[in-house]
Point group: C2
Chain length 206, copies 2
DNA sequence: GCATCGTATATAGCGTTGCTAGATTTTCTA
DNA sequence: TAGAAAATCTAGCAACGCTATATACGATGC
């Protein structure tokens, strides 16, 4: 019987080791990408960093894309937490502004991570039940902003997400001059702070 | 003297041939990408399609990225023309709606083309004088929409561009369910049809 | 018309990539 | 401690972007 217990502990230890190494790979990939770009994240380089041979990487993730996907999911996890924090620590003047700042701050501080979260052809249909919970959680934080304010919270939060993503992406790829970033965010917040739910109307005044 | 003229004509013909082949390469790359994705656009495949050897590709574009960049610029050219058309043929109810539809229609009908226009690390700072005119023209079409309406047309048009780009991108990568697309666009148009220029105000009604 | 020279094009190969089959070592079990 | 099983490595394949070198071609001068 003691052998059974020992076998259990061994299996547990193996699992721990396995997970630790998996995390190590993800961290290494992320670090290299952030420093030198994703094209520098090669399997040989990675296997070198973790001091294992290449096939070990395939035991954890089925392919190079599998590694990128794992990094992306980790990115969504962190983004979700950052948005939740920004939403709950209600800054006076509206949560929309706080969440927008948190989103763009995240994208700006980890450009390579943000890049792989979207440029990857993960093809996660979002609605699908197979969508990783990290993704759903991150989006749910955006949806919370418009709950009850509008007749269609999904539509408004999707549009909000799209706007944030567009700003993040065009900033990351240097299409937007950084000089006007503050004004862009201010305009964005103004637009989304007044959703048209039937009880709000825009009128001309003079 | 006749020899001089002949030499001229020969040089012209060579230039024409060269440009024709250049266009051929761009068209082939675009077609392959649209059918099988950009990873299938290899130099061997391209040289095969145009019935020339690989080094010829390097005589035209310095590298594979050079080919992608050329395709991207062509994409911006077409996008600019499409936006101009949508803006000038004023559909009743506002040009914003028309331009938005044209933009998203372009992105949806040529996803690979749209992808390379932005996912490429062209790193074109936009403001820079070295920015291709095709890019500037396309953006100018968006800026036209908000000229005079707002105190800061650049900010509003950049925000509009970002929103459109976000929708296009999240749709292309299957993050958005296509079912709500119409509503998303409607909400977008509503938001941007009422820029806050000091003569418009949002009020609660009941 | 022919030799010559320069340009255009092709051949062949280098180094690196993602990935994998088969050998080998390590670890557990009985 | 012997043998089974799992884990890991070695070595190599095909395909990639790219380029040095060789060859064929076309224009030019006598």
């Amino acid at each position: 019987m003691a052998t059974k217990l020992a076998a259990n502990r061994i299996a547990e230890r193996k699992l721990r080791d396995r997970q630790a190494r998996r995390a190590q790979i993800i961290i290494a990939a992320r670090r290299i990408a952030e420093l030198e770009g994703w094209s520098s994240v090669t399997l040989r380089r990675l296997s070198d960093e973790i001091s294992y041979s290449q096939p070990v990487l395939y035991a954890h993730f089925g392919s190079r894309d599998g590694i990128l996907a794992a990094v992306a999911v980790e990115g969504f996890r962190e983004l979700g937490l950052a948005l939740e924090k920004a939403r709950k620590r209600v800054k006076r003047g509206g949560t929309v502004e706080s969440v927008a700042a948190a989103y763009l701050g995240f994208a700006a501080s980890s450009p390579a991570l943000y890049e792989v979260m979207f440029s990857l052809s993960l093809t996660v249909p979002f609605d699908d039940p197979s969508t990783p919970p990290e993704l759903r959680f991150a989006f749910s934080q955006l949806m919370e902003l418009f709950q009850g304010q509008s007749s269609k919270p999904e539509v408004l939060s999707e549009l909000f997400w799209a706007s944030l993503h567009g700003i993040a992406e065009l900033t990351r790829t240097k299409r937007f001059p950084p000089s006007r970033q503050k004004e862009r965010v201010r305009a964005l917040v103004e637009l989304f702070n007044f959703p048209r739910d039937g009880t709000t109307q825009m009128v001309k005044v003079r």
